[in-house]
């Protein structure tokens, strides 16, 4: 109905532009309504309607002083409204130089004919004279209190080393007449004379993985890699640490004798011969069954025994500590028995008598003589056992041979087997295989099995070039806090 009080300022001339668009539907001005009864509705309370007014009326008890103190009641409301109105009129007079309703339309509006040419002089109105503003208190407070004037900034009046600089300038001016210039200028001039803006900037070198990067003959005689050091004294280069450290020959050996690219067997052909395909299937089956068996083993271990403990077992468990006395008694009996017949202590051997020593010595000698005699006899008899001896030797030889072969085979296996290079062992990814019904009839229908990328990766691991690793687990450092936004709250019915 009425223009809100906040929109008042655009009645001013300055706010004209704002009015351009809405000039057609400008709401009736408050002055027109002043005559009418509804002018009361101009203020916010009135806008709310009679219900709000009634609410205002019965606010607060009147039997207390507090109730009377408020400027309330119907008279008060009337007074407030009149005050508002007068204020508004005052504002209009101040801002627009009179009541807006009384002003001619030409003053308030104009016809929008696009961008007006600037030459057209705007009718300027003198701004109403403002009373001279008093300085704000804040500024006054911030004024320096001291009577002593602040020190002057000397640099604002004189340059440091001014005299020296001036002399130098004069000196060089004199020199310039002769044709001599300071060093910097001389160099600049020389560069200009050489013709060009200094050394030409090199184009940025292409990186190692740039698709257009150049290559050269690195194994040739004159390659750019060795060029800077070519022809210099090796002793000098070594002492100045410009010579590259030689790669130890130990590093030229490969960590595994396996070939870099292991070609898949004939069964892995896209259109394999029957027999080879069957073999491959068999191998794959073996791998698969082994894997299954291991899985089952783990599951069997993890399985909970289905039978709950019997009542007897439960009872026994509950009586566990209570029946101990009897056993203790038994133990005590045993102890007593032990006390009755204690183990006989072995007598410490005393010093041997001379006789004993002599006898022992004699016996030792006799035993030695007997052994020697037996050995001699055996040797003599061995002459007649030559065949048996030879056979024994042969057997031993054969046994050694067998062991050697075994060791050799194991060594070869160890060499080709992937080594253990870390916490994890190398795990072979089973053979790539296509079942008989998956085999393609033609090249067009072929669905590749496995991934070359994984094959390469596993090959590197198998050849001990990288250690098998697990992907690092992602651990969250802080707990995730879930918050439901009020504006996006899920509706639950």
């Amino acid at each position: 109905m009425a223009a809100p009080s906040s929109s008042r300022p655009f009645c001013r001339r300055g706010g004209r532009k704002l009015l351009q668009g809405v000039s057609g539907s400008f709401p009736p001005l408050p002055h027109e309504m002043a005559a009418a009864e509804e002018f009361l509705a101009f203020n916010p309370a009135g806008r709310a309607g009679p219900a709000a007014a009634s609410r205002r009326r019965c606010r607060g008890p009147r039997n207390r002083k507090k109730g009377w103190k408020r400027w309330s009641g119907p008279e008060a409301r009337l007074g407030r409204e009149i005050g508002d109105f007068l204020e508004d009129v005052g504002l209009q007079e101040r801002a627009a130089g009179g009541l807006i309703s009384e002003q001619p339309n030409e003053d308030l509006f104009f016809l929008d004919t696009g961008s007006a040419p600037k030459s057209q002089p705007l009718k300027k109105k003198k701004p109403p004279k403002k009373p001279p503003q008093k300085p704000l208190h804040v500024d006054l407070v911030l004024q320096p209190l001291s009577k002593v004037p602040p020190p002057k900034n000397i640099c604002a009046y004189q340059t440091p080393n001014g005299r020296k600089e001036r002399r130098r300038r004069q000196f060089w001016e004199k020199k310039a007449e002769i044709g001599e210039f300071p060093r910097a200028e001389r160099r600049l001039r020389a560069r200009l004379a050489r013709g060009g803006g200094g050394t030409p900037q090199k184009p940025p070198e292409l990186g190692r993985s740039d698709p257009q990067r150049p290559f050269y003959d690195i194994w040739g005689e004159h390659n750019p890699l060795d060029a800077p050091l070519a022809g210099q004294d090796p002793w000098y280069l070594q002492q100045t640490k410009r010579l590259r450290v030689q790669r130890p020959p130990r590093l030229q050996a490969k960590p595994s004798p396996l070939p870099p690219v292991e070609v898949i067997g004939q069964g892995g052909s896209y259109n394999p011969p029957f027999q080879d395909h069957q073999e491959l299937l068999l191998r794959a089956l073996e791998v698969e069954t082994r894997r299954r068996r291991e899985e089952e083993k783990v599951e069997r271990r993890l399985k909970v025994t289905e039978e709950p403990p019997s009542q007897e077992a439960v009872l026994r468990e509950q009586l566990q500590g209570l029946l101990e006395e009897e056993e203790e008694e038994e133990e005590r009996d045993e102890d007593r028995e032990e006390e009755q017949n204690p183990p006989r202590k072995r007598e410490q051997p005393g010093r041997k008598t001379e006789k004993q020593r002599r006898r022992e010595k004699e016996q030792r000698e006799k035993a030695g003589a007997r052994a020697r005699a037996r050995l001699a006899l055996q040797r003599r008899q061995g002459l007649f056992r030559l065949r048996a001896l030879r056979r024994a030797l042969r057997l031993r030889d054969a046994e050694l041979q067998r062991r050697r072969r075994l060791r050799e085979r194991q060594r070869r296996l160890r060499e080709t087997a992937p080594k253990r290079l870390g916490p994890l062992r190398y795990e072979d990814a089973g053979p790539e295989v296509q079942l008989s019904e998956e085999l393609a009839e033609s090249l067009r229908r072929l669905r590749p099995e496995g991934s070359v990328l994984r094959d390469r990766f596993k090959s590197l691991q198998r050849r001990n070039m990288i250690e098998p690793r697990e992907r690092a687990k992602f651990r969250r450092r802080f707990r995730v806090k879930l918050v439901e936004k009020r504006s996006f709250r899920a509706i639950t019915l």
Binding site: G207, R208, S209, P211, R213, P214, F215, D217, I218, W219, L225, R244, V245, R247, L251, Q252, P255, P260, V261, V263, I264, G265, Q266, G268, S269, Y270, P273, Q275, D276, R394, D397, A398, Q401, K419, R420, G422, P423, E432, V433, E441, S442, L443, R444, L446, P448, E449, G450, S451, V452, L453, R454, R456, F457, L460, N464, M465, I466, E467, R469, R471
Partner: protein
Amino acid sequence: MGGLEKKKYERGAATNYITRNRARKKLQLSLPDFRRLCILKGIYPHEPKHKKKVNKGSTAPRTFYLLKDIKFLLHEPIVSKFREYKVFVRKLRKAYGKSEWGTVERLKDNKPTYKLDHIVKERYPTFVDALRDLDDALSMCFLFSTFPRTGKCHVQTIQLCRRLAVEFQNYVIASRSLRKVFLSIKGIYYQAEVLGQTITWITPYAFAHDHPTDVDYRVMATFTEFYTTLLGFVNFRLYHSLNLLYPPKIDSQAADELKPAEGKEYAMDSESYLERLSALSASLARAVAPTHEDEVEVDEFPVEGETAELMDAKKKEQEALEKHKKLFEGLRFFLNREVPREPLAFVIRCFGGQVSWDKSLCIGATYDATDPSITHHIIDRPRLDKQVVGRYYLQPQWVFDSVNAKLCLPVADYFPGVLLPPHLSPFVTEKEGDYVPPEKLKLLALQRGENPEEESEEEEEEEEEEDDNDKEEEEEEDESEKEEEMKLQKMEEQKMEEQKTQSKVLPVKVTAGKVRLEDKQRLEQEQQSEEKRLAIMMMKKREKYLYKKIMFGKKRKIREANKLAEKRKAHDAALKEQKKKNKKARQA
């Protein structure tokens, strides 16, 4: 008893090794940087013999390096670059955080970079060393060049890999050094002989990517980073060894044929060159114009005995190789759009064939499908409606099988819609006594110049004609075989008898002299077998034992092979029966 107490773990194995973490600290690098450095420098972890000693009494599984290796790493200039890079990243992050865009620009301009050229030279002191280690590099480059250009690894790396792979393929074509191809379910295996070194590599099929998650992409990218550098230098050298220009230029004649306007639909100007190179249809420009040298004949020196035989064998081998290189010379292929273009074009061009494809399929098509001079049309669909007279329509396997067999195989087995013979691996070489599948036997016979094909075909025809009498016929066949054997045996017996009579019957009277029929070969054989028997008799017991074992092993092998062959026969028979049944069912 003086002297200091020996402390544990201060000498021996414990001092030769260093754990990964200590090595990392010694080099002042983060773990990823350390791993990268080790890969680039070719330093691999070691498994010590006595882990507990090395681990100072602990049995915790750790990764160990040789201490000397790590000391060697300390001299590497790249280490300081890694540290600089770390500082650079820190500064950059700070600048970003403060929104200092000028600083960001400046920092980015001065980004620390490093090159791997000196490492290549250090790890491969000679060119041959590099060639020997090319398998990995090629496989990796071919693999990375098929990666999608999104995420996972840098686009630049992928592009570089593609460029290097294409360059190498062009070299192989120019030098005709491809030897074997094998289409497996995993990818395509190639083997080439470059300057006397056999190089094997694997390429994935196009569009065959499932990106496995259990693969460390960062490690693979680091390997690739090194291998691209290596392959680039190797390519340069290889091109120069053939007098080709590097970076490769398409021959001016061929370039004219290709018409520059044609490429515009496919790629931007900057890319079209590589695309045209990767089409593999044009020959490369040479630095020095190729002069048609008359074939250099090797001077022949008179040699005797075994060396002469060896020389002969070598000569024959050489001739066979030359023939193999010119396998497809003079043939003109056309690839239908459903066949894998790149591997086929590569293989055909490697053996001197000319190849083209539909203009809308790829850049670099030189002739049209309607060209009357086309001899072989490669097609991979059951049938084609409009067939042109005067050319073979073949399935792509023919090309690969022919290359492996070193001769142009008979085309009948490879017509469209025909059940293909199995694709045999050229990398498998059967030893004596091993089971050889019948397909391979057929192939070997073909290589020897025989033609078992016709016989078998005739047989098949006969069989088809006489469905019912099949069994009888087989029996007959068997009988005929038996008869032959019998005849042979009889002949032998006769001869033996003759000999016996000659030795037993005493000459009572003088008769006219007969020309004694001496079978020289037989005598020789007998002598040889006799010698062998004697040698066996003279063997020491130990050796005899070993010999018997070896012989037993051989026999077992043969037995197994026979078993397999029988199995195969049974399988084939079952298949045939089924076919017949199907046929009958169809007829009925």
